[in-house]
Structure formats: structure tokens, C-alpha cells
Point group: C2
Chain length 259, copies 2
DNA sequence: CCATCTTTGTGCACGCGTTCACAAAGACAT
DNA sequence: ATGTCTTTGTGAACGCGTGCACAAAGATGG
């Protein structure tokens, strides 16, 4: 993951570990739930359980923000909600544009989770002229031609890319050129961006493939060797260097690697 | 030419690092692109650039799978595609169910990336009776009542949860009870599952919040101290333990913690 | 057949993140 | 006020992941 950090000796040693930052939203969500149930305080143990993490990890995470707990009691829920929100920058308004209003883009536009926490969908943008003006999630889709104008007029610094893979890099370049410095990419492509621009990637296909790997291992633990042998016999793997044909004889490498 | 090729006997060390597994789909995607352009071989440097990673990291990743490269030349594209596919378990068919056919669920059902690599949407399931029978992505939505039957009849071991947060845990429990052992969760909730079940989480809101954190830092680097002071003065943070009122005097903690 | 050149595979060191374990801090009861 | 009990905050150890740097392997050219 590209963390694209511009190293700067910040005013204070603002070195909150990246792993901690990634968990803060998790804590915030758990705390919000407690807040709605008017729970006044919570211990690190309880909160850690709600967030699905280790309690020691949670305490260390909070220690990077400051000493917000009370020994013997726990953490004040409301106070902690405020502190984390402020640390994450959620006390301000973040206008966001979504580019690519296909199935996924429309789903994102309708997703309530955006508006819930400081994020506001400022515009929906699509390259298809037929989409222009069409309302999605109660908001007219605008054409890509106006991308730069929309970005600058709304002061957008966060962009969401939900286009097909082929268009993603081009859209990304235009977003960056127009002033966007944070991008959430749903397109299955590696985006290249200049320093100072953050990119986070959400890739459904990759997540599934990772699950498949573990699933295969789980299944293989029962009939490990037998299954591997059968599969190797059933599926014929491509012979080494079959296409090029300009290399040495293919006898130098067995067609089927030992499984 | 090969003299006596000393085949490494124990390539099957089951310990492929998790970080490596997470990158294999990335390599596979880059390799597929090369394969479609009929590129016969690729060096670690080139492939690493295409996948957006360090070349040394890529070589080390591949070394966990075995010695599939040729020194002085690089890696055979077709051969590597096969090896990674096999390692990820993509040479077999993975039936998948999607539970929760709202905006996101429908988008997932329509997403071509699923079918492209061994994954097949076996069923769409929703709790709303009005949805039952309605076609989404050319497939009739089925009711939650039949969840267990669908899982067992199709031999499904991977489930995708795209329901609202409130229903996620219940759906998860039923999936697991029915035999699902891998879950991709899009609902903004922490799922608790028994040992042996893998859960991966995709959370749009969290990704945005992480971006907001970095975005705030980038903005803060220009007018760091001034901004912090102004924001602290403008926004009044909740006084410590304001709601509970049963604790000590609130003077024991400053209303604004030092930033 | 030998020399040179390219590229892999990996030993090693380093830094980050996680976890344990415990002293210090504070609430609460007496 | 003093003691006990709960819970935080953190020092320290450990393990994993990353990146450097280089020797070995093999292709290529003379």
C-alpha cells in the first residue's frame, strides 16, 4: 500500500503509527454505538472486545493520542468520541466526488455511510453523455468535461474512482491535476500518482482470491497429498516456455512441479 | 543445459507469509495483462513496476512458491500465471453466494470481476419478500428462508455479506452454521465467528476516514500551529464526564487537552 | 570453450507492529 | 486517612515484513 509520506519534522512528534490510524475508525464506530446507548464510560477490555482487537493494542493506540483514560474506571465515551473524531479530521466537512456512476458508483452514492461522518458527496461524475443530468441518489450526474470546474468550485480534495480499469489512470491524473490529493480507488488497477497524493485501494476480486487461498488450504488439510496429485494429473499445466520456443529444450524443467 | 537439477524437495512449506498471499493476486493481474499481449517472459523489475511493488519483494514472494525464474532472463509469463493461479486455488470453481441485494449487493452481482477468475455467483439472497424472484444480474433473487438449502445444494464455502449492519451477524451465523468457512463482509460491523472461519472486511467508511486523517495532516503542515489553535478555540469539546455527572469535579481534567 | 553480462534467489540487518507483564494512578470502601 | 481493588499507560521482548546487496546461475557472444 502506498503510504506516500512526505517526511517532515512536524511541529510535534505527530508520529501516529499507520496501523493505529487504520484502527481509529473502528474504535470510533464502537464508541458511537455506546454513546447512542448512553453508556458513560467503557474499559479498554470492553471496548477492545466491541472493536474486535486486543485490549493492550487498544490502550497503546490511545496512548499515541494522549492520556484520555482514568485508571480504575476506563474511558469517558463522549470525550473519546470527540478526541478520535478530531484526530481523524472528522470535525470538518469533506466534500467528495465520485467518478464513474455504474453499478458500483451508484451504490456508493446511495451508501449512507458516507454522509454519516463528515463526508458529503459533492458531485457525481460520469463520462457517458447519456448519464448527464440523470438523477442518482437524488443528485444529477455531471459530465466528465466539467470535472476540473467541479473540483475547484467545491474545494474537493478527496476523490472516489469507480470507473472501469481502463479509464482509472486517466481519471486519476485529471483529479490530481485539478487539486485532489486523496483518492479511494475501486478500479482494479495500480494507479501511479505523484508524491503527496494518497491512494487507497479497494479491490473486491483480490479479497476473494485471498479467501480462496485460505479456503483451498483448509480443504487441503484433510486430503492433502491425494488432492494435489489428482489435481496435477487432471489439469495439464502449460509447458515451460511453450510460447517463446526460443529457449533451451523444455526437458530442463519438469512440466509438473512437485506438489 | 541442466546437469543434475537438484530439485528443492520441501518447497511445500505451508508457510507462505500472509503479506505475500495478499500480493499474489496483484502479480496475477499484471501477468494476465502481459499474457494477453503475448509477452513471453518478464523480469522481476518489469513485473514489479507493473504491480507497483519493490522488485526485491517480488522476487522474495516468488521464492516462497519455488524457483520459477531463469537467471539472466526472467520469468515465463504463462508458467507463472499457472503457478500463481494454482497456489491461490483459482484452478477450481468457487461457488459464491451474495446475501443482501441492496444497492451494493446488486453492484457486486453485476461486477464482472467475480466471474473472471474461478468465482461463480451461485445465488443471490435477500430477506425482503418483495425481492424474491426478481431478477438481478440475470439471476432470480432468493429468499433468506432457503439460505441453508442453497448453501448445501451448491456446495458453497464462500459467502459475501452486503446486508445492513444490523442483520450482518445473524446472516453470518446462519452462513457458518450451513457450512460456509470464508466470508467477505461489506457490512460495517465486527463479525464474530468460530475458529476455522476466515473473515475479510471491506469498509468504505473506514477507508475514507483514513484518507481524511492524512488529508488533514497535509493541510495542517502549511499552517500547523495556527490551525490547531483556531480549531480548538472554535469548536468546543465536550467537557469531561459531562453526561454522567456522577464522577469527580470536572475541573480535574482540562476541557482542551494539549495538542 | 571461455569470458562477459544479465537477472534471479537469498542472507542479513533494520524497523514496525504486536503482545506480555507490571508498576503507577486513581476510585472506592472503611 | 489508609488500604484495597480496578484499570490504565508503557517498557521490553519478540516476530514479521521490507529492502539492501551480492553471490550464484545461466544466457549470450566471441
Amino acid at each position: 500500500m502506498a503510504t506516500g509520506r512526505t517526511h517532515r519534522p512536524a511541529t510535534r512528534s505527530r508520529g501516529i503509527p499507520e496501523a493505529t490510524v487504520a484502527r481509529l475508525p473502528l474504535y470510533l464506530r464502537a464508541l458511537t454505538g455506546l454513546s447512542e446507548r448512553s453508556v458513560p464510560t467503557v474499559s479498554s477490555e470492553e471496548l477492545a472486545a466491541a472493536a474486535g482487537v486486543n485490549s493492550a493494542k487498544l490502550r497503546k493506540d490511545f496512548s499515541y493520542l494522549g492520556s484520555y483514560g482514568t485508571r480504575g474506571v476506563g474511558y469517558d465515551v463522549e470525550y473519546l468520541v470527540y478526541q478520535i473524531s478530531r484526530e481523524l479530521g472528522l470535525t470538518q466537512d469533506w466534500p467528495v466526488v465520485i467518478v464513474g456512476i455504474g453499478n458500483l458508483g451508484a451504490a456508493l452514492a446511495n451508501y449512507g455511510g458516507f454522509a454519516s461522518r463528515g463526508f458529503r458527496v459533492a458531485a457525481l461524475i460520469d463520462a457517458d453523455p447519456a448519464m448527464a443530468g440523470k438523477p442518482v441518489a437524488g443528485m444529477p450526474v455531471q459530465h466528465t468535461d466539467d470535472l476540473e470546474k467541479i473540483i475547484s468550485e467545491n474545494g474537493v480534495s478527496i476523490g472516489v474512482i469507480a470507473t472501469p480499469a481502463g479509464a482509472a489512470q486517466q481519471v486519476c491524473d485529471r483529479l490530481v491535476a485539478a487539486g485532489v490529493t486523496s483518492i479511494l480507488n475501486f478500479a482494479p488497477t495500480v494507479l501511479s500518482v505523484p508524491d503527496g497524493v494518497d491512494v487507497r485501494k479497494v479491490d473486491l476480486s483480490i479479497e476473494l482470491q485471498i479467501l480462496a487461498f485460505h479456503e483451498q488450504r483448509k480443504a487441503g488439510e484433510e486430503a492433502a497429498v491425494a488432492e494435489a496429485a489428482a489435481s496435477a494429473a487432471a489439469v495439464v499445466p502449460p509447458v515451460r516456455a511453450a510460447g517463446s520456443g526460443r529457449k533451451g529444450p523444455d526437458g530442463d524443467m519438469p512440466a509438473v512441479m512437485p506438489a
